[in-house]
């Protein structure tokens, strides 16, 4: 409870479906047990089909989202194309490891589709940038235990975008309801070849 990554609370999750990926987060920002904001999104977009979920210490979440905006913008100027999820994952990893002995207290997750092949890509990191490549799902945040339990039992491979939305939503919703520091609204992005659908979920407000 008294470690920096669980002061503000928050949860995020990403899943792979059939030719699609989904990434979702809650909307709470708190100060210990006191809720402060119900509009603190933890999913950020860097490029057409590259998304980053950032949980942990809110000041580091904001700082890093801006660091990555800077870095991806510079990348776009140099390369004249937006960054691929795979490339972005390595950028996140080296950015975090640079601060090996004074880390940011965050738990990033990356989700997206490769722009050439449209192949789904997801991965997660620990706070010093060790990449966790997964084929199915990635979880992060103060409700990570709950999310592991939900995803491990609800997930099945090759879900259509509509079914993937239901599965990731139910996983997140029920997980955050069992975590005192997460919740207060949820947002879900479903990324397919030719569209990104963002949905705001109706959730408990306690």
């Amino acid at each position: 409870m008294s470690d920096p990554s669980s002061i503000n609370g928050g949860a995020a999750v990403a899943m792979v479906g059939k030719d699609c990926v989904a990434i979702a987060s809650d909307l709470r920002l708190g100060n210990q047990s006191l809720g402060v904001s119900n509009n603190f999104e933890k999913v950020f977009q860097f490029g057409d089909k590259t998304f980053l979920g950032l949980t942990g210490l809110a000041s580091d979440v904001t700082t890093l989202s801006q660091v990555f905006r800077l870095k991806t913008n510079l990348y776009k100027l140099r390369e004249e194309r937006s960054i691929e999820p795979q490339t972005f994952a390595n950028l996140v990893s080296s950015t975090l490891y640079e601060k090996r002995f004074g880390p940011y207290f965050i738990g990033p997750i990356v989700a997206g589709l490769d722009s050439k092949t449209d192949k789904p890509f997801i991965c997660g990191f620990d706070l010093i940038g060790c990449i966790d490549f997964a084929k199915d799902f990635i979880v992060s945040g103060t409700a990570s235990d709950q999310l592991y339990g939900m995803c491990e039992s609800l997930y099945e491979p090759n879900l259509e975008p509509e079914d993937l939305f239901e599965t990731i939503s139910q996983a997140l919703l029920n997980a955050v309801d069992r975590d005192a520091l997460s919740g207060w609204g949820c947002v879900v992005y479903v990324i397919t070849k030719d569209r990104v659908v963002k949905r705001v979920l109706r959730t408990r407000q306690d």
């Binding site: 235990d145 709950q146 592991y148 339990g149 939900m150 491990e152 039992s153 609800l154 139910q170 919703l173 029920n174 997980a175 309801d177 069992r178 109706r202 959730t203």
Partner: protein, 243 residues
């Protein structure tokens, strides 16, 4: 406070607080338990792995017990305390019968009595999460859950122990249908509660434990489910992953 202590590692940073030594009477023996109450039955399930740290002490150490009078019980956490509590309760049921002409101990009486056993050690608690399951006086399934010092509640379902945080939200979703709405109602109408059949509950329990075994290192080896119906207590065993 000006005394300094150098940690045993090759650390350049000198600790300013003295090293504290103390006796720690508790340990964590892992394991996870789960109870679900049905319409006319109740189940109490637990994995059979017994651990300390990174070591497996036993791959088959039963943690859910038939304590008599159609009641099943588990006390998960610190195994020695769990064993002591269950033994003490079994013994007390025996004395209850001696003193009351073989009278059956009802669920709600058993529940209240366990509270007394736990609170009796308020300042040196049994380090366990306790669950009992059985049938109430109307024959409906009942599950009672406790905190280490005896605060208790009757519930539809409850997970306890190492992987409780992994299993509990799954139960909310699949037993009480939390966060589920009837399609087409625009999220206005909740999916109504309905009792699951015994078959469905057993399948749910197996899936919950298989999932927990995938992600929690203290869960695995075997799953033992004790099923209480009006005909008595039945046991089902199925293997879990052993890594």
């Amino acid at each position: 406070m000006s005394r300094t202590t150098v940690a045993s590692e090759y650390s350049a940073e000198i600790q300013s607080t003295p090293i504290e030594h103390r006796f720690n009477p508790y340990s964590d023996n892992g394991g996870t338990v789960l109870g679900i109450a049905g319409k006319d039955f109740a189940v109490l399930a637990g994995d059979t792995r017994h651990v300390t740290g990174y070591n497996i002490n036993s791959r088959y150490e039963p943690r859910v017990f038939d304590v008599g009078d159609n009641i099943v019980m588990t006390a998960n956490g610190f195994a020695a305390d769990g064993k002591a509590l269950i033994d003490r309760f079994k013994n007390q049921i025996k004395w209850y019968k001696f003193n009351n002409g073989g009278k059956k101990l009802e669920m709600q009486s058993a529940a209240r009595y366990i509270q007394q056993l736990l609170y009796g050690k308020r300042f040196f608690p049994y380090y366990v999460s306790t669950l009992i399951a059985g049938l109430d006086e109307e024959g409906r399934g009942a599950v009672y859950s406790y905190d280490p010092v005896g605060s208790y509640e009757r519930e539809q379902c409850r997970a306890g122990g190492a992987a409780a945080s992994l299993i509990m939200p799954f139960l909310d979703n699949q037993v009480n249908f939390k966060n589920q709405f009837i399609p087409g109602t625009d999220g206005k109408e909740k999916r109504p509660f309905e009792y699951l059949s015994l078959q469905e509950v057993i399948e749910l329990v197996k899936d919950a434990f298989n999932s927990a075994a995938e992600r929690h290192i203290h869960v695995g080896d075997g799953l033992e489910i004790l099923i209480v119906t009006k005909d008595g207590v039945r046991t089902e065993y199925s293997p879990l992953k052993r890594d």
